[in-house]
């Protein structure tokens, strides 16, 4: 084996060991067995559910990226962003504008997805630069980010006139953009068009697994250690020789890119995007998902988001006028009874029971 092969294997081993670590709950064969079973069950779901229900489940998966990104920014780096929807909406519009101009042939929708995520992430880095290098801290981060998303919503809502177009793409003001193509995979014998249904569901499930594992590795890396330390005591971190502002900005950029991924996928899923996706209600919901699940652990964030989304949709169907009220009550209960999140509290309790049963 050559030296470079040995080094590559060593790096791969290091990455794998970071799947478990102090910044993420869950370790050992028991945890990974349960995780594998959960993924297997999710993969088997389209076999027992109809296409519409599977497409609806894909919709839930789309939001988990934004939630995990907010978990990084808020739960790990300690900066409460109230405006992740700004990056969500920007990327959604970007996907629409690019695909309406370029079309869906030759895998260009995938290029549009990548560009939209890059645009959303870059915008987050720019906002993050001005916030963190401008010494904005604490609750003011929430105020600034909320302002950004509301400004974007207001701006996009007034783009109804025919002059508001980018190439072939009309922005359409409050009614939003529609008619953009869904994700389309070039394939031998004809493109695969990913309308809401099993193929899109599998693509999203794979993306969720990859992003989740990638975030676990990142959060247990030296970079993740510094993020958590910044959350705990930013002054001390600076006095250990770290540029705290740079780390915060990078975390914010990563969170923004994840929100952008949700936005672009959402637009591809539903083939529409409206300014209200950046409004106050939309901006508040990710905070509820992440807080209820547990902001300080990426697994709790993922599980909590899926559970709350499913519950929210059920409430919307069977009692629409109360759904948002219930979400608010859920947030209050969480803050008062389980401030670290309901999923974290449950997992901690299960861990105790598991350990005591082994004694």
């Amino acid at each position: 084996m050559t030296t470079s092969e040995t080094a590559a294997r060593s790096r791969a081993r290091t990455l794998l060991t970071r799947l478990e670590g102090p910044q993420t709950m869950g370790r050992g064969p028991a945890f990974w067995t349960v995780a594998a079973l959960a993924v297997a069950a999710a993969a088997a779901y389209p076999l027992i559910a109809d296409a519409w229900t599977v497409g609806n489940a894909a919709y839930f998966l789309i939001w988990t990226f934004m939630a995990m990104g907010l978990g990084v920014v808020w739960g790990y780096a300690g900066a409460l962003s109230f405006g992740q929807t700004a990056f969500f909406g920007l990327a959604g519009y970007a996907y629409g504008v690019i695909t309406l101009n370029l079309g869906a042939a030759y895998g260009l929708t995938l290029l549009a997805l990548v560009l939209a995520v890059a645009i959303g992430g870059l915008f987050a880095l720019i906002i993050g630069y001005f916030m963190f290098y401008g010494r904005i801290q604490g609750v003011f981060i929430g105020i600034v980010t909320l302002s950004v998303t509301l400004v974007l919503e207001t701006f996009m809502a007034q783009t109804a006139g025919p002059q508001w177009r980018i190439g072939e793409a009309r922005l359409n003001g409050f009614n939003g953009m529609s008619g953009m193509p869904p994700l389309t995979l070039p394939w031998f014998g004809g493109d695969i068009v990913l309308y809401p249904g099993p193929p899109l569901y599998y693509l999203l499930l794979g993306l969720v697994v990859i992003c989740y594992l990638g975030l676990r590795i990142m959060l247990n890396s030296p970079f993740g250690n510094v993020l958590v330390a910044i959350r705990e005591n930013p002054h001390r971190v600076g006095m250990l020789g770290y540029d705290v502002r740079l780390y915060q900005m990078l975390a914010f950029g990563i969170g923004g890119a994840f929100a952008a991924l949700s936005g672009a996928l959402y637009t591809a899923w539903g083939q529409y995007i409206t300014p209200s996706s950046m409004g106050l209600t939309s901006a508040a919901l990710p905070i509820v998902w992440v807080a209820v699940g547990g902001r300080r652990d990426i697994t709790a964030t993922l599980i909590g988001t899926l559970v709350v989304l499913a519950g929210f949709q059920t409430l919307t169907i069977y009692g629409s006028q109360y759904a948002l009220v219930v979400m608010g009550v859920l947030l209050l209960v969480t803050v008062l009874a389980a401030p670290d999140g309901l999923v974290v509290a449950t997992m901690t309790q299960m861990g105790r029971i598991f350990r005591s049963s082994k004694r």
Partner: protein, 239 residues
């Protein structure tokens, strides 16, 4: 011995309050030096100026031959200055080991990181608490953990702001021994301290600050015998 720190004409005022009034100060490499003075003398402000947390109105700070006056805090730390604060600046939700990892991982990797962590755990007698959340350590242990975080990567200059504040006499004595050990390894130490017994234990030379200016400097014996110092700081016999 070569000079590691030189401060010239350092001045800083907040409105009408002058916290550094043209301070000239120097420190030789390998020194173990204490800074004393009554409350409000400007000791902590002097530290903040050295660390780059306050920008001076005038004056220069030269560290290890380079002008660092315009550098940010983290850039000064990277040049080899390290600090331990009066209130333990640790990460309470992280374990002792994680605290040390965060402190060292920017400089050390792999086996050398693990070896340094083990060495510091032994040095501070915290091996048994390696996986304990730092927030539940005793006050003295938290102070030692922060000292370990500050010295694990062997800085050239260690700044200590009241390192024994809140410690028991035993913990204070042990801290003094630790500082002698670190100084023996070549780390220059500058400490702000109120406890004169501790100052006697560690300092070879002492500087007295008063109203943002250097009032006196000398050995501990010279400072104790200095009539002006007794009056402004230690109190006179007839008070």
């Amino acid at each position: 011995m070569s000079e590691i720190l030189r401060v010239q004409g350092l001045r800083k005022a907040f409105g009408g309050v002058v916290v550094a009034n043209g301070i000239d100060f120097s420190l030789s490499a390998g020194a173990m030096h204490c800074l004393i003075g009554p409350n409000g003398a400007g000791k902590s402000s002097f530290f903040r100026l050295l660390l780059g947390e306050h920008a001076p109105d005038a004056g220069t700070i030269t560290f290890d031959g380079s002008d660092i006056t315009g550098l940010r805090s983290f850039q000064r730390i990277r040049r080899g200055i390290s600090v331990k604060f009066q209130v333990p600046g640790i990460f309470k939700a992280l374990s002792v080991r994680q605290n040390l990892e965060v402190a060292f991982q920017d400089h050390l990797h792999g086996q050398s990181l693990g070896a340094t962590i083990r060495e510091m755990l032994d040095f501070t007698d915290l091996r048994a608490e390696e996986m304990t959340p730092a927030g539940i350590l005793s006050h003295g242990q938290q102070q030692w953990l922060e000292i370990a975080m500050a010295v694990g990567v062997e800085p050239k200059l260690l700044l200590l702001d009241e390192p024994t504040a809140g410690m028991s006499p035993d913990e204070t004595r042990k801290t003094g021994e630790m500082l002698h050990d670190l100084n023996g390894r070549g780390i220059t130490i500058l400490a702000v301290e109120h406890d004169m017994a501790f100052v006697e234990q560690i300092a070879r030379r002492v500087t007295v600050l008063h109203f943002g200016s250097i009032f006196a400097e000398g050995t501990i014996a010279e400072i104790i015998d200095h009539p002006g110092v007794q009056e402004i700081y230690l109190g006179t016999a007839d008070v």
